[in-house]
Symmetry: C2
DNA sequence: TTGTATGCGTTATCAG
DNA sequence: CTGATAACGCATACAA
C-alpha cells in the first residue's frame, strides 16, 4: 500500500533504513514547505484547502509515515506512554495491560511496559527508565511506591495510578471499590447460612489487601458476628500462600464452613489444599475468590468470585491518560463490584451447622 | 540518586523537560568535546585515561543520563526492540514476555510489546508500527505470518522468531521440540496401560498444533496402535474449546480412558467437562496437558503435563536478538521437552480395560 | 587520540 | 496563512 501503481518519478525508494519517505520529500512533492506539512499533520494551524489536498495526495502517493523518533526529539512528545506493572505475566494484570494497549494504540500511542517486581525501589528505577525514554505520561498499576513519590513524578509528567485513592496535581487515581467487593462476597456466604467464614487475606501492606479485609469484617459485623482472628490467615496473593493458609487453618482445628480468599489465585491454592485434605468444594466448604480472572471460569468447580473489571480498568486508565495529555481533567469511574456466583459456594447444610 | 548531596554549582536544574543534563553540558564540564563524550559512552574509539576520568566524573556529578530519543535519531539505534506476541495476557506467552523483558532490559534495551491478536494482517501492522518506531530488532513469538513475509522484514532488521523452524538471512528461528514433547506425553499414558487415548488438538494451522498431533500419532504408531480419527477432537488452544471437545467426545460414546490435550488451557477445559459429566480425574480418566503453565501446579488435580520452558524461551530469544545486534550468529538451543508427572494421570485399572 | 562540522526528521519560532 | 531557519541531543565522517 502507498506504493501504488503510479510509481512515476521518485522510483524505488532510495537508500538505507528501509528507504523511508521523509516529511521533506512530501513537502517537495506537494510543492509546499515542510512546515506546512507538519502543520497539516498535527492540526497545529489552519491551512488552505488547496495545499492540504496536495499534501494529502502526496502523503498517500509516497506512502509517507511520520518518524516518531524525530518527532520526539523535536516536539518533546514521543507518543509513547509508560506503563509500570508488577508482573507482566500476572493473570490479573494481564487483562489490564490488554485494555491499556487497545486503548492507547487506537489513539496512535505506543505503550512501554515495565515490570516493577513488587518493589518500590525497582518501580522507581522503572520510572526513571521511562522518563529517560521521554514517555509522554506514566500509568502505574497499583504499585508499591509511596503516594508522595508518585506525586513528585506527577509534577513533571502526567500520571495515572490505579489501586489507590489520592489527589495530586497532574495525577489521577482510579480505584476499584475493594471494600464493597469484599463485603459482597462475605455477604453472599452469610446469605447462604454460613457463619464460620474463614478469610485468607492478601498482602496487608497492599491497599487492596487492606480494603478487602475491611470489607470482610464489615459484613461480619453487620450480620452481628464477631471478628475471630483465628479464622483469618495471612496470604500474599499467590496460589502457594492460599494453599499454605488452608493447611494451617485445618491444622488449627478451628471450625469453618466457608472460605473467602482475597483473590482468585489464593482461592485456587486453597481449593487444592482442601482437595488434598479430602474436603470437597462446595459440598464440605464453600469457597469464594476475588478478581474473576479468566481461569476462574474453568476451575473445578468454577469459582464464585467478585468480578473485578480489569480490562475496563486498563481501558479507563488509558483514557484518563489520553485526556490528561490533551489537558482535560478526567472524570471516570469504574463500574461497581459485582458478585459472580458459580459453583464453589452453596447453602450451608443444617447437619453441619454448629 | 545522581542528585547527591554535593549539589554545588549548576544548582536547581534549569528549564523545562525536567531540566535534563545534556551531553554537551557534560563535555563542557569535563573540558572535552562532545564527540569524545559520545565516544566514551559508546566505546566507539579509544580515549585517553585522563579525559575518560574527567568525563566519568562529570557524568556522575551532573547525573547525566543519555537521551535515547536523540540517540535514535542520530545513530539509527533506538535501543529498543519490538516484541510481537499474540495476546499480552496469555498465561502461556506471559512467561516468555517476562524472560524477554528481564534479558533485554539488563542489556540496556527496552522491549516494545504489541499484540498480534492471532491475525497475520494485524501482525503485519504491528511490525509496521514497530518499524516506524525504529526498533533495532523484532522478536516474533510464534505468529501467524507467512515465513516469506518474515524473511522479508528480516532483510531490513534483525528478526528472532519462535515456534517455527526456518532459515533466512538476518533471521534466527528458535523452536521447541513439540513433536518430542507430544510423543513423551502420549508415551507416558501408554506406559500407564492406556490404549484408548483421546487427543484434543490445538489449532492445526498453527505449527505447534501440527507438531503435537504428529507426536501423538508417532507414539501410538510406535506402540503398534492404529490412529483412530474418532478419538481426535479439534480445539483451538482455549479452555472453552477443551470443554467442548470433551463433551463431543463423551457424546460420541467412543470409549477412552485417557485424554491428551495439546495445551494446558484445553486440558483445564477438558477437566471441567469431565467433572460435569461426573467423570473423575485421574480415577476415571487420565489427563495430560502441554506447556506447564503456572496454574497447572494448582489445578485440581495438579496437571501432568509437558514442561515448555517459556521463560527460557523468552530469555533465549532475547539473547539471540542481542547477539544479532552485535553481528554475532547466535547458536542457541532450547532445553528438550520434559514430562512433569503430577496427579492427573494414573495407571489404567483393569476393570475398565475394554 | 581528539576536535569540528554536519546530519538525523520534526516541530517551533520567527518573519513575511 | 505560509515559508525560512533554528533548535532537539547525539553520533559520525572528516580533518587535525
Amino acid at each position: 500500500m502507498g506504493e501504488g501503481g503510479t510509481g512515476q518519478g521518485k522510483g524505488r525508494r532510495s537508500a538505507r533504513s528501509g528507504g523511508r519517505v521523509t516529511l521533506d520529500m512530501v513537502a517537495e512533492a506537494a510543492g509546499v514547505s515542510a512546515a506546512s506539512v507538519s502543520r497539516i499533520l498535527n492540526g497545529t494551524a489552519i491551512v488552505s484547502g488547496e495545499k492540504r489536498a496536495a499534501v494529502d495526495e502526496a502523503i498517500a502517493r509516497l506512502g509517507y509515515v511520520p518518524n516518531p523518533v524525530a518527532r520526539g526529539l523535536a516536539g518533546g512528545r514521543t507518543l509513547s506512554i509508560g506503563v509500570v506493572t508488577q508482573a507482566i505475566d500476572s493473570p490479573f494484570y494481564g487483562g489490564a495491560l490488554r485494555g491499556i494497549e487497545d486503548t492507547v494504540s487506537a489513539a496512535g500511542y505506543s505503550p512501554l511496559f515495565v515490570s516493577g517486581q513488587w518493589s518500590a525501589a525497582h518501580e522507581a528505577r522503572c520510572i526513571d527508565t521511562l522518563r529517560s525514554r521521554r514517555v509522554d505520561g506514566v500509568i502505574v498499576l497499583t504499585g508499591r511506591m509511596a503516594d508522595a513519590a508518585l506525586a513528585a513524578v506527577a509534577l513533571e509528567l502526567p500520571v495515572v495510578v490505579t489501586g489507590r485513592t489520592m489527589k495530586a496535581p497532574g495525577l489521577v487515581a482510579l480505584d476499584f471499590d475493594n471494600f464493597e467487593g469484599a463485603r459482597l462476597a462475605t455477604q453472599h456466604l452469610l446469605n447462604l447460612g454460613h457463619r464460620r467464614i474463614a478469610f485468607i487475606s492478601g498482602d496487608l501492606k497492599h491497599p487492596d489487601g487492606k480494603e478487602r479485609l475491611r470489607g470482610y469484617r464489615a459484613a461480619l459485623k453487620a450480620a452481628g458476628l464477631g471478628y475471630e482472628p483465628a479464622l483469618v490467615m495471612p496470604g500474599n496473593f499467590t496460589e502457594a500462600s492460599g494453599l499454605t493458609a488452608v493447611e494451617r487453618l485445618i491444622d488449627s482445628r478451628e471450625a469453618f464452613t466457608a472460605i473467602f480468599a482475597a483473590n482468585d489465585q489464593m482461592a485456587f491454592g486453597a481449593g487444592l489444599g482442601l482437595h488434598r485434605r479430602k474436603l470437597r468444594v462446595p459440598h464440605d466448604v464453600s469457597l469464594v475468590g476475588f478478581d474473576d480472572v479468566a481461569s476462574s471460569v474453568y476451575s473445578i468447580p468454577p469459582l464464585t468470585t467478585v468480578h473485578h473489571p480489569v480490562y475496563e480498568l486498563g481501558q479507563m486508565s488509558a483514557q484518563a491518560m489520553l485526556q490528561l495529555l490533551v489537558g482535560e481533567l478526567p472524570t471516570l469511574a469504574l463500574p461497581p463490584p459485582r458478585l459472580v456466583v458459580r459453583e464453589s459456594t452453596r447453602e450451608l447444610q443444617v447437619l453441619r451447622k454448629r
